[in-house]
């Protein structure tokens, strides 16, 4: 970790003069609709389950924004879901598996592509085979759909989904607080604010990470291990970044369709945390980086202050 200077303060919340370090990723976005909001979200939540980190899950995914019925192709409530991975092949595999197992199976669902990118990932083009010869191809309005017969009617699925190579993964904020309740309140405020930013997701459970990591481990085969500098129980026995009153740290990890989306999400998160103030939320905001060695995208907190 680089040496930190703590000189900034907004509404009593200290802001470290440091930066979040992020890296390029591949991403796609899908619009999943359902007969009502509950079932649109159910399909989206299932599809983005166990997709917190590319370290162990193959992809990072979450609901980006809820889409009102008036803005979906079929006039039903929907969720925009984003999926991020480190390679095109892995993204293609993850998207296909997840849509096939979680959206195709969800009652009344339909799946539309919601991103125009440099390449296309197979979606309905592969899933159609579930129709066992009864599937129907439809092309109109410049779009290609597959209609797959299922037990409650038909599963409508866009043939392909767009892929972007401009996506960014690993934007982050570390929220340091006097206790767990305050840290959680700050994190929830940040996640709620970031949830309103289109094109940015927080893939961890509820958008929050308690097990922030550092690169590498003393154990062979482990690619990441606990971020001991921010673990309060190790304060004093390791080179800690925590002050005497910092007893809980939570991290918000942000993936964005573009670098601008990550920056906007971090700005929204910082604003929400600072508005909450140190009495109810975090007393300090920091960010995770590896001295600039991990990725080419750097988000300096001082540039993102409200």
């Amino acid at each position: 970790m680089p040496k930190l200077k703590r000189t900034l303060q907004v509404n009593g919340v200290k802001i470290d003069d440091t930066f979040a370090e992020a890296f390029g990723m591949r991403a796609t976005a899908l619009l999943i609709t359902g007969p009502n909001r509950k079932w649109a979200r159910q399909a989206a939540i299932s599809m983005t389950g166990y997709a917190t980190s590319v370290i162990g899950c193959g992809c990072e995914a979450a609901i980006d924004v809820d889409v009102p019925a008036s803005a979906t192709p079929d006039g039903r409530p929907g969720c925009r879901v984003m999926v991020f991975a480190v390679s095109t092949d892995e993204l293609a595999k993850q998207v296909l598996n997840r849509v096939g197992q979680c959206v195709l199976t969800s009652p009344g669902s339909a799946c539309f592509a919601d991103l125009t990118g440099v390449a296309e990932l197979k979606l309905g083009t592969s899933l159609r085979y579930f129709g066992d010869g009864w599937q129907i191809s439809k092309k109109f309005g410049g779009r290609h759909f597959w209609r797959v017969p299922v037990m409650d009617g038909e599963f409508l699925c866009e043939a392909t989904a767009g892929l972007t190579k401009d996506a960014v993964g690993g934007g982050n904020m570390l929220l340091l607080a006097a206790n767990n309740a305050n840290a959680l309140a700050a994190a929830e405020a940040a996640v709620a604010a970031i949830g309103k930013v289109r094109g940015a997701i927080t893939p961890f459970p509820g958008g929050v990470v308690r097990s922030g990591s550092k690169v590498g481990s003393k154990y062979k085969g482990m690619t990441a291990s606990t971020n001991d500098a921010f673990a309060p129980t190790l304060r004093g026995v390791t080179k800690s970044e925590l002050g005497p009153g910092d007893n809980a740290v939570l991290e918000i990890v942000i993936d964005g369709e573009t670098s601008d989306a990550v920056a906007e999400a971090m700005r929204a998160g910082i604003r929400a945390v600072t508005e909450l103030g140190p009495e109810k939320g975090a007393s300090r905001i920091s960010a995770g980086n590896y001295g600039g060695k991990l990725g080419k995208f750097h988000y300096h907190l001082k540039d993102l202050l409200p």
């Binding site: 079929d74 006039g75 129907i136 439809k138 092309k139 109109f140 038909e154 409508l156």
Partner: protein
């Protein structure tokens, strides 16, 4: 640049082959050369200059001021640009079109959009028989693009259609969608006998129950259909229809089981 305009001076004395008058064939040609293009189909052999007053220079935007039922093969094989006919057209308008837009403000004769592969044709009046259908000996009819007929269409519209979308807004004659291979045929205003006769695949979307259907179609109920909603919204958004055609749970018939049986006829409950 001003649109390249062909103003009809008098009713043509013979049938005309207007296939040479497309944007790509006229690109870079001087008006005096255009006037010498033969278009007459009889031994009379009329030239463009005998029938039309030619004005303008933009060959990518062609206008026929005045039309005739003797205007055959308009926009044949057109690949881009636009052709507008202020009047009617004869047979095979837009045949084998690959791109661009053809607008006919009057009626079109038989075989309009025959074997079309891309682009958009709008016929504001009626279309003749065999809209989008193949000529004798050809295996497939329309193979892509979009055709809108604001009036009626004759018999056997979309015969052997393979891809694309045809929308007929004031009714079609007998056997619409006959022998369809795939694609989408939309008919508002009712149809004649036996829609989808011997269709293999494809979708025929109607605004009402068909009067007489081939007995080799089977009823498939009326499950919820996201496709119906999506295409309804598309047709309204594109200005093709004013209101949704099918609704969210249209009634469905599958067929024609005398052949492959993977086609469908949908209409609102």
């Amino acid at each position: 640049m001003k649109a390249l305009t062909f103003t009809l001076v008098s009713e043509p004395p013979e049938r005309l082959d207007l296939s040479p008058l497309t944007p790509e064939r006229l690109a870079g040609k001087a008006r005096r050369d255009i006037a010498k293009i033969p278009v007459g189909m009889s031994k009379r052999g009329s030239l463009v200059g005998d029938l039309f007053r030619v004005a303008g220079t933009d060959a990518s935007n062609i206008v026929f001021e005045g039309g005739s039922g003797r205007f055959d093969r308009l926009a044949e094989s057109m690949q881009g640009g636009s052709i507008r006919v202020v009047g009617s057209a004869g047979t095979q308008a837009g045949r084998a079109m690959r791109g661009g837009a053809l607008t006919i403000e009057g009626d079109a004769g038989p075989h309009a959009a025959s074997c079309m592969r891309g682009g958009r044709i709008e016929i504001q009046g009626d279309a003749g028989d065999r809209l989008g259908a193949p000529l004798a000996g050809e295996l497939a009819g329309m193979n892509g693009g979009i055709v809108i007929v604001r009036g009626r269409a004759g018999a056997s519209a979309a015969d052997r259609m393979r891809r694309g979308l045809i929308a007929i807004l004031k009714g079609a004659g007998d056997y619409p969608g006959s022998r369809m291979i795939a694609g989408t045929l939309v008919i508002a205003g009712g149809t004649g006998e036996m829609p989808g006769y011997l269709m293999r695949r494809g979708s025929i979307l109607l605004d009402r129950a068909p009067k007489k259907l081939s007995p080799s179609f089977v009823e498939c109920g009326a499950p919820d259909s996201v496709f119906a909603t999506v295409i309804d919204r598309y047709l309204v958004r594109e200005g093709i229809l004013k209101r949704p055609l099918l609704g969210s749970s249209p009634k469905r018939y599958g067929g024609d089981n005398a052949v492959l049986g993977l086609g469908e006829i949908l209409f609102p409950q």
